[in-house]
Symmetry: C3
Subunit: 266 residues, 3 copies
């Protein structure tokens, strides 16, 4: 399996270094995102004040901008932090939550992408289709369209990023290399912010691995293997979410070797 | 049992349509409210920015305004969204969290009720007594008074709404019809925002059923039957809350037929 | 064991009176903090609007200011509330989350301490070292330094407060009396905001016990005994957190007598 040697090593490095991941996380998912970040082995900080985001983003090992409950104040702070991250070579992950659902979200995502150098953009099918210029795939923050590797390639090329399209299968592309991840469970759709949480895990790997296609795949597989193991313990979303955090905490390199379903397609 | 035929059908319709419920939810309960909304079968979106709430509330299938952690910015956005919902025939649920506890909350609730056409007002005993003009029944956001059907009737008539008074027994009235719901468990008092969460379930039913007395009863019973089933699995609030979400997700029309304790009293 | 007679009585008083604890809690931990407050037996309210914090803090039985996700608006409200608490003899707990991590946090903590009469300051090792004038002990909101009783004594004397330094062992000092608490489990480091949650429990005891060294020890031991009991049920952080809330709810005076590890050292 691709990354069978690298994943166990990177997971170990992550847990040794405990990198600092500065989050702009939406209010709905802040707690889960912080717990997921701790469970995989990194150190989260949530902060949005203009007075400190430049300083924090400069010191962080990765910056994760999630626009889920955006407003004007937060967007300004996200851009200040993003620029500070860029100046300090801190990689940036953008989650364009609800892009395509309102004009404000679509415009904010484009504004961030034009003002900040983003390393990875991760969204669901509808959001990524919207970024690729295809509308009508979102209802609120839930995707009602399916995207594919072409969508990832198009977003990657258009914005010069590594693009991650989540869904039943996940597609990762930087325009040159493409990967499909087939792990996961439909139950994740019944846990609010599961897509936001996987972003925290990807950002944690970005903090220690500058090959962003690999870091994205590592984050996706780690989260989704944990979800598969959690689903064995519960098939209902309340308890499933707690087991998912447990399983992330207990995840080993060996789990990757045994359970990862990854295809390099380009 | 009243609604024995309609509840199973409405639950099925809800899960087929997955209606969009735009929430202004307090920061404390956002995550649980979103997960409860997904578990019953609807699609939640939390959004508060002036730049997008008009657009979102217009597209939503129901709007839920909960003032639990209000401030000036949020209140202005709630009113913009409420007016947009009214223009687009989107039903509005108002949860007057802490009405009577501070002047600001009491005044904000009255302002929303005067500027927005609200379909359902749902609060605990102290809050609804405060709306009915009787003070002294709240301590913070917890009720220390018991209200009854008269309180619901009075609020319904005074504000032209369907009024839902939650407590050991719940009272629903639109001024013409009255219903008492006797499901639930005292353990819900030890889960923060359980009253806010039941609002998410009522709003989900309002999105597919414009008989708001029935939608309110359907939401109350669904949530409280799930709570009764959860309590069988745990009698302590940490695990109980997770089982409650599980049981909402697993709820069937048959559960209503077997477990609902509903009396039509008017 | 010290407090073997007083703890059971104070826990009973707490659950009888259900004191109101006004929280300025960070967005990440609001839900857990509210549930922990309910589980120990008090009544939480989260509120930050300028229009109501003076009124609420005046009526509350304790005020808990946690700066975890601070910004300018919130800081102004914290100070308004703190002054109102002071005028009404309501005890104030300050959690200086991330002090030392950014200039803004360090300055805000000093500003609050100069404008508000704080009864208890509770922080992790890095934060409390920063308050004692020793920098370099924090990474984001996580402590990477170990402090000790000297740190607590120094903060207590410098600011005229009861100081609580949390960590593998916890140190409490008001400058005259010192106590070490040796309960707890390292698993708490994998639950985001576990330090913030223990603050809610301490504030709940402060609401009924004006000996703040004792109230601090009571809160620490209650939370950490619950954590020890939870760890018996799960050694992974997702389910552990739920069991922790369960065990706080089920805590008895007898648990203190059997399990407390408290040393009076001054």
């Amino acid at each position: 399996m691709w990354l069978s040697d690298e994943f166990p090593r990177d997971l170990r490095i992550l847990r040794e270094r405990r990198p600092l991941v500065h989050h702009f996380m939406n209010f709905v998912v802040m707690n889960d995102a912080a717990n997921v970040t701790l469970a995989i082995g990194a150190s989260p900080i949530m902060a949005h004040a203009r007075e400190e985001v430049e300083e924090l983003a400069s010191k962080a090992n990765a910056l994760y901008i999630n626009i889920g409950t955006l407003d004007e104040y937060w967007v300004e702070s996200m851009i200040i932090a993003g620029k500070a991250a860029n100046r300090n070579n801190v990689p940036v992950l953008l989650d364009p939550v609800g892009a395509g659902a309102t004009r404000y979200r679509t415009e904010t995502v484009k504004r961030i992408l034009s003002e900040v150098e983003v390393s990875v953009v991760k969204g669901n099918g509808g959001e990524m289709l919207s970024l690729a210029g295809i509308t009508g795939g979102v209802k609120g923050v839930d995707s009602v369209a399916s995207a594919n590797l072409d969508t990832a390639v198009k977003v990657a090329e258009e914005y010069g990023v590594t693009a991650v399209v989540t869904g039943p299968w996940d597609y990762v592309s930087n325009g040159k290399r493409g990967v499909v991840v087939k792990n996961g469970t439909p139950l994740l759709q019944y846990v609010t912010g599961s897509g936001c949480m996987v972003g925290s895990v990807i950002a944690s790997f970005m903090a220690i691995n500058r090959d962003f296609v690999k870091a994205s795949v590592e984050g996706l597989v780690a989260f989704e293997i944990a979800a598969e193991k959690a689903e064995v313990r519960s098939k209902a979303p309340g308890t499933f979410k707690q087991y998912l955090i447990d399983e992330l905490y207990n995840l080993t390199g060996d789990d990757y070797v045994k359970m990862a379903k990854v295809e390099v397609v380009q």
